[in-house]
């Protein structure tokens, strides 16, 4: 942008220097000079990575031959900075990690993306919810694809979370110093299941309605907090003040329950899950990156138990 006045100035300069007489000649000369300048400037843009714009976005020049730059490409990038600059050479072998943790996170992103798009077409009210789904399926461009993708990504996320957990157990990756991160992971598993469950009611069809009815009926039986649970009656619990009432915002699965599950599904649980995810990823780095493949330890090298 700031090039323009600059050009004008030089154009004026050249004309005054030559001192052409006719107006046509002045314009012609000015034109050739401008063209010349433009060509020369364009040559400067041939290397995209050398432009001001590029440099302002990517803080480090990407020189593949320079190891320092490769590291900086990771460290100075907001999306990649959770990665270390270097990792164990065997850790990138697929059979070790199965990639399930990363895929789970990617699915969370897919779900957020499709979920936000779905929110544009959905009203969490008894009058509209079911019709909005029909509208999505039949009228919204790619609406059916959007809904299908959201549902299947959710199912897939439950599976990948379990497989991730299974891998962590098989490789003993929950061991010191990663015990706490395992606990964070368990919380994330529960949140994943709750996210799926709260989403189940939203289409407001028979499937979701009865699944949530069955699910929340169990809450009735919560010890001490449920109207039908042990010691519930003794503590003054009724169907109108117990924990199930709190979950549903009423004594039956109705409009309040729809609104509550909508808010938990779209705002509450994703927020909490994001915080736990941040901690989960942060702790991976702080605990020394992914656990292996580590060199095997031998029974004969087991140290004696430390006495505190």
């Amino acid at each position: 942008m700031d090039e323009k006045p600059d050009k004008k100035e030089t154009a004026e300069l050249t004309t005054t220097e030559k001192g052409s007489t006719s107006l046509v000649g002045k314009v012609k000369e000015g034109g050739t000079a401008l063209k010349q300048r433009a060509i020369e400037e364009a040559k400067g843009y041939a290397d995209v990575q050398d432009t001001q714009l590029w440099k302002s976005i990517f803080r480090v020049s990407h020189d593949r031959s320079d190891p320092r730059n490769r590291s900086l490409a990771i460290l100075s990038n907001v999306f990649l900075h959770l990665h270390p600059a270097k990792i164990n050479r065997d850790a990138v072998r697929y059979p070790f990690t199965w990639g399930m943790g990363g895929i789970t996170f990617y699915l969370f992103i897919v779900l957020t993306f499709t979920g936000v798009l779905l929110m544009f077409y959905y009203h969490p009210t008894k009058a509209d919810a079911f019709r909005d789904i029909l509208y999505l399926e039949h009228d919204v461009p790619f609406g059916k694809l959007l809904r299908n993708m959201h549902r299947w990504a959710a199912h897939l996320m439950v599976i990948t979370t379990w497989l991730h957990m299974f891998r962590v157990v098989l490789t003993g990756s929950y061991k010191r110093p990663r015990e706490f991160n395992w606990c964070v992971g368990v919380v994330l598993l529960v949140l994943t299941l709750l996210l799926s469950f709260t989403g189940y009611l939203l289409p407001d069809d028979q499937l979701g309605f009865w699944a949530v009815t069955v699910g929340t009926n169990m809450a009735r039986a919560t010890p001490m907090l449920g109207s039908e649970g042990p010691f519930g009656v003794q503590l003054g619990m009724t169907p109108f003040n117990d924990v199930r009432f709190g979950l549903l915002g009423g004594s039956i699965v109705d409009s309040n329950a729809l609104l509550r599950s909508y808010i938990w599904h779209c705002i509450g649980i994703p927020l909490v899950a994001s915080i736990f995810m941040a901690v989960h990823f942060w702790r991976i780095r702080k605990d020394g990156g992914i656990s292996g493949p580590a060199p095997v330890m031998l029974e004969s090298e087991m140290k004696a138990v430390k006495k505190k």
């Binding site: 990665h83 897919v110 990504a153 157990v169 699910g215 169990m218 138990v305």
Partner: protein, 366 residues
């Protein structure tokens, strides 16, 4: 040797597949019913899991075997143990131990996202998310099933009262999972696949994991209208009625032939009913703990029935037990008996002996 072992494994797999196919051919009466259940869009993930879980289990076991062979080799040869890079993965001198994340990891991650995206697109184009009729509180769905990942919980409702199945058990499972790393006192096997060095820890987790999947499979493929047990391939009969003659354990004993000859009728009335249940549950915890203790230390290779040797102890497992603190041991036993053992025992009592409760009190029943 390795080749022979592999072909043996393949032979067993083949045998299992053949038996399953034969069973299916002889016992499936209604293929359509089976297809209806397994092709229900929301059930497709479980069908996928039936393939994914065995595949990844195999992948894990294969790497564990490779590491276990290496461990054996290194244990035998201390000199090699000092010089070896100690991984089953190939290694050559001069290779860097670490590689750059850019591009060697980032490109894999990128590829993974592309593959997952393609899978999702294909899946979403070919299969529609289910949508039933509008919610109607006056028309109960039968069977009324939770989403598949909660069917384990729903299936537990058959065996336990709702406050246990729906509230206490899930909480215990959650806390039990969190406690897992803190009760595992084994310092070996941190960051590599191994079965040999961690057989008990892996065995316990797999037991829980497989039990959970089994409950889900029962809930999905076997439970039909009225939550009645229909074998896979049996037609779901909406008019089927099962006359459950479930009895409580104290009544079962009191009214049995032995109970009658021994005049145990008093067990059916309080306070004996209560005391009896208390003794049964306490006895279960004690026997369960003994069972897990045996499982923890037993040397499978020396275990035999012929020259009766039921309690041979494994030296390595004994060492691990010595490292386990009392708190770790008691905590593990509590969770193991309460979930890992209580669940299958109650399932067997209910399905095989039609027993409903083992402990009946005025406040709660177990």
């Amino acid at each position: 040797m390795a080749k022979l072992g592999m072909s043996k494994g393949k032979l067993i797999t083949l045998g299992v597949v053949v038996v399953l196919v034969l069973l299916a051919i002889f016992f499936v009466q209604d293929w359509h019913q089976l297809w209806v259940i397994s092709s229900a869009p929301d059930n497709v993930p479980i069908v996928a899991m039936l393939f994914l879980v065995p595949f990844f289990t195999w992948l894990g076991i294969r790497q564990s075997r490779a590491n276990d062979r290496l461990i054996d080799q290194l244990e035998e040869d201390p000199k090699l143990a000092k010089a070896h890079h100690r991984k089953a993965e190939p290694w050559r001198p001069g290779w860097a131990r670490e590689i750059h994340v850019w591009p060697y990891l980032v490109r894999i991650e990128f590829l993974a996202t592309v593959i997952v995206t393609v899978i999702l697109f294909v899946w979403s184009i070919t299969l529609n998310a289910p949508l039933e009729e509008p919610a109607n509180p006056n028309l109960t769905m039968n069977p009324s099933k939770a989403p598949w990942y909660f069917l384990g919980l729903q299936e537990m409702l058959v065996y336990f009262d709702p406050w246990i199945a729906g509230v206490v058990m899930p909480s215990i499972i959650m806390v039990g999972l969190m406690v897992f790393p803190y009760v595992d006192a084994n310092p070996l096997g941190n960051g590599y696949y191994t079965l040999k060095q961690r057989r008990f820890a892996i065995g316990m987790f797999s037991w829980g994991f497989l039990m959970w999947i089994l409950l889900i499979v029962i809930g999905t493929f076997i439970r039909g209208p009225g939550w009645i047990w229909f074998w896979p391939g049996q037609t779901w009969d909406h008019n089927a009625v099962v006359f459950d003659k479930n009895v409580d354990l104290h009544d079962w004993i009191a009214t049995s032939r032995i109970g009658k000859t021994l005049h145990l009728g008093f067990l059916s009335a309080n306070p004996w009913k209560f005391i009896f249940g208390l003794i049964v549950v306490s006895g279960f915890y004690i026997l369960g703990a003994l069972f897990f203790h045996w499982l923890m230390t037993v040397d499978w290779k020396r275990l035999s029935l012929r020259p009766l040797r039921l309690f041979p102890q494994d030296e390595f497992e004994k060492k691990l037990l010595a490292r386990t603190s009392l708190l770790q041991y008691v905590t593990f036993q509590f969770f193991a008996v309460s979930v890992l053992l209580a669940m299958p025992v109650k399932l067997a009592l209910r399905l095989a002996l039609t027993i409903k409760y083992v402990w009946v009190t005025p406040w709660f029943n177990i």
